[in-house]
């Protein structure tokens, strides 16, 4: 089979968020919403997890959407359609449990919307009533608006600065819907850890089951390293095999945020080095 994985399409969704279609038939064949892949851009690259944004089993294609946050995503973004990436493995993690859901609020924040979208899409295809609340910092970084519209019975667009849709945070949008009398079987929140934490605070108040998707630091993605561990309901779980989705009311968010920042100084240094390297290449 393939030694490397071809980039079939690359599309910039906003200045820092990019979509790529990757030729990976083995991953596409089994992928389900909620699962993720691990990739390595090149021979010296680190392994990073990215949630599967979409897949086409017949064409053997998996879509990933990433935000340029560090050296690896910067390197990845330097590749173009037709180029190859070194490694692409998956699908990993447990698929979303969506069976039996009749009415769900899907909350997406920033690039997390890329992960929330396949979940909303699947729910919609199952006949579930889907309300989506998507939030972005500002109008110029809005992504997947049309896609969400197509799979939502109700959609609320929110921006922090009010440049598009409703001004405010997704928690406000969600709470308004709840107060307006919407009864959800479940809320699914995917975005920055801090956003998921606050969404959980809101839903806890109204006693609505809330599922969140964690994206911690990991290496292998198969349960081998334990780097992705987090505390859920007082027990240690591995996000890669027990998750990445968990009951948000049980997750120790403070610990998760702390662990996520473990290599911050290294990541910053590496990111700057990489950017400088690319600048030199351009010159």
């Amino acid at each position: 089979m393939v030694d490397m994985y071809k980039i079939l399409r690359k599309a910039e969704l906003n200045p820092t968020v990019t979509l790529m279609d990757i030729e990976a038939p083995h991953v596409a064949r089994k992928a389900e919403p909620g699962q993720f892949i691990i990739l390595r851009v090149d021979e010296n690259g680190e392994r990073i997890p990215l949630t599967i944004a979409d897949y086409d089993r017949e064409k053997g294609v998996v879509t990933i959407i990433y935000q340029i946050v560090g050296a690896t995503t910067a390197k990845l973004n330097h590749k173009e359609a037709g180029d190859y990436i070194q490694d692409f493995v998956g699908p990993l993690g447990t698929p979303s449990h969506l069976e039996g859901l009749k009415k769900v609020a899907v909350v997406g924040g920033g690039v997390g919307c890329a992960i929330a979208y396949p979940v909303a899409k699947k729910l919609h295809s199952m006949g579930c009533e889907v309300h989506t609340i998507v939030g972005f910092r500002s109008k110029d970084i809005v992504i997947l608006e049309d896609e969400f519209k197509a799979v939502s019975d109700k959609m609320i667009m929110m921006t922090d600065d009010g440049t598009y849709g409703v001004k405010g945070l997704v928690t406000q949008g969600l709470e308004e819907l709840i107060l307006a009398g919407e009864k959800y079987d479940e809320v699914i929140a995917i975005g920055p850890v801090i956003m998921m934490k606050f969404v959980c605070q809101v839903t806890k108040k109204y006693d609505i089951k809330t599922v969140i998707s964690m994206n911690p630091i990991m290496i292998d993605g198969t349960g081998m390293c334990g780097g992705c561990r987090l505390t859920v309901g007082g027990e240690t779980k591995f996000a890669c095999v027990d998750g990445p989705e968990f009951d948000g009311h049980q997750v120790d968010f403070a610990e998760a945020m702390s662990r996520g920042a473990m290599y911050k100084p290294f990541e910053k240094e590496r990111y700057d080095e990489t950017c400088n390297l690319f600048k030199k290449e351009v010159q």
Partner: protein, 464 residues
């Protein structure tokens, strides 16, 4: 005339104070003269007890005789009949509890240095013989192997030599299993593992990396859709255990698996690697096995000033090989024996700032026959460390047992097999290595891979 020296020829090594700052191999290997001299210590006794001590039954006196004659390639060919990974085994086998344990010369003095001779022979072959092995005639049957570790590689090699079309499915991006992610470069250079994998490829074995069996493809699909007549599961014991003490999820607490994978597989010790690893100043490694020694010695090489092995029993019970313990001590690793961690302390930023421990004493023997460690009340103390590595064992990954119908496992999650041939509760599905035994040694996994290969051959030939 046999060489009647009571001691083994010493193997040259890097100086401890030099090697504890680099990742180059510690032991440098025999010269041809040393190898011949050591080979002449073998008495070629009739009973050949050493052979029974070897899990893959290498014809030890025969290969040693060839070394003594100076026919090193001939010696390699003898070993190669029974072992497909001699350069690996010569380095990581616990010879002292296997072949060398039974050597007659060991009754009075030291046994023949069988391991060092095996290593010499394999290295000689790798350095001097570039001839690709002849590709065996194909018999038209397909076998799939799950996991490219010692068990899988051995099983694949044996089946390929018999003419089977073998495909190995490996979850990571590189073949080798624990040989590439676990055992450090300074104990087993990765180029040696790569060479062994390349040899298998020359025999016609296909290696599919980035394939997680249980996720990317299932055992049932391998058999029903991909046309494999038999599957060998050698997926190892990769799931790390933690102690379940407070503070274990602080930053800079690693499982040994994670720490070693970052350092070995991801090459975090090299400047060019994108994978980070903590360069801690004071490191505690909890556990007393070979993995603990590997983690401690790696931490030292990454620049730690003080590295502790924290182990709850005494030196006599350390499960690590004596040689590894010796090497660790020479390199400045500090042994805190009869010591058990009770809590890991964090600082304001959530990083490790110390580890509370308690002193232990040995009480009555427990189920394992070893004396049970018992806490000494009031002996608590704090170890001043900024990184903790848990090396207290691993168990088999549940992925395959959860996704393979009718595959029987025991309460430890290990796959249940029917005696030595590795047959599982599923027809045509065999298993071996750590996936069956729980964490054990490279050579035992190889032995299991070898027996399973023979059983798979019989099974497929017996069908129809």
């Amino acid at each position: 005339m046999a060489n009647m020296s009571l001691v083994k020829n010493k193997m040259p090594e890097q100086d401890p104070n030099v090697r504890n700052k680099n990742f180059n191999e510690v032991a440098l290997g025999y010269t041809a003269e040393q190898a011949v001299d050591e080979a002449q210590r073998c008495l070629h006794c009739k009973k050949k007890p050493c052979v029974q001590g070897c899990p893959v039954n290498i014809k030890i006196p025969e290969f040693i005789a060839k070394v003594a004659e100076g026919d090193f390639e001939g010696a390699y060919q003898v070993i190669n009949e029974d072992s497909s990974l001699p350069a690996v085994c010569g380095r990581v086998c616990p010879q002292e509890s296997q072949c060398e344990k039974y050597c007659v010369r060991g009754v009075k003095g030291e046994p023949v240095a069988i391991g060092r001779l095996e290593r010499f022979v394999a290295d000689y072959h790798n350095a001097n013989c570039s001839e690709a092995p002849a590709k065996p005639e194909q018999n038209g049957h397909k076998v799939a192997i799950v996991g490219a570790g010692p068990a899988g590689l051995t099983c694949a090699g044996d089946l390929a030599k018999m003419g089977y079309a073998v495909t190995i499915y490996e979850a990571l991006h590189l073949a080798g299993g624990v040989l590439v992610y676990g055992i450090p470069e300074f104990r087993l250079p990765k180029a040696i593992v790569q060479k062994e994998v390349d040899t298998l490829k020359e025999l016609g074995v296909k290696v599919e990396t980035n394939m997680v069996v249980g996720r990317s493809i299932s055992v049932d699909e391998l058999m029903e859709e991909e046309g494999f007549e038999a599957v060998f599961i050698g997926s190892g014991a990769g799931l790390p255990s933690f102690m379940k003490i407070p503070g274990e999820n602080l930053k800079a607490v690693y499982s040994a698996n994670e720490f070693l994978t970052r350092v070995n597989l991801m090459k975090a010790y090299k400047d060019g690697s994108d994978t980070p690893v903590m360069h801690a100043k004071r490191v505690a490694v909890v556990g007393g096995g070979n993995v603990a020694m590997d983690a401690a010695r790696s931490a030292k090489r990454l620049g730690a000033e003080e590295v502790y092995i924290v182990y709850r029993r005494s030196e006599a019970e350390l499960p690590a090989r004596a040689e590894e313990v010796e090497h660790a001590k020479e390199e400045g690793i500090i042994f805190k024996l009869l010591t058990a961690p009770t809590e890991i302390i964090g600082n304001d930023e959530g990083f490790v700032a110390g580890m509370n421990c308690i002193q232990m004493e040995l009480g009555e023997p427990d189920a394992s026959g070893r004396r049970r460690p018992v806490k000494i009340d009031g002996s608590d103390f704090k170890l001043d460390v900024d990184c903790v590595i848990m090396a207290i064992g691993t168990s088999p990954n549940p992925l395959i047992r959860n996704t393979t119908k009718g595959l029987e496992t025991n309460r430890h999650g290990c796959i249940v097999t029917n005696g030595d041939d590795g047959l599982t509760s599923r027809e045509g599905v065999y298993a071996g290595g750590d996936a069956v035994t729980g964490a054990a040694t490279v050579i035992l996994a190889m032995g299991a891979g070898k027996s399973a290969a023979a059983a798979i051959d019989q099974y497929i030939k017996g069908k129809k």
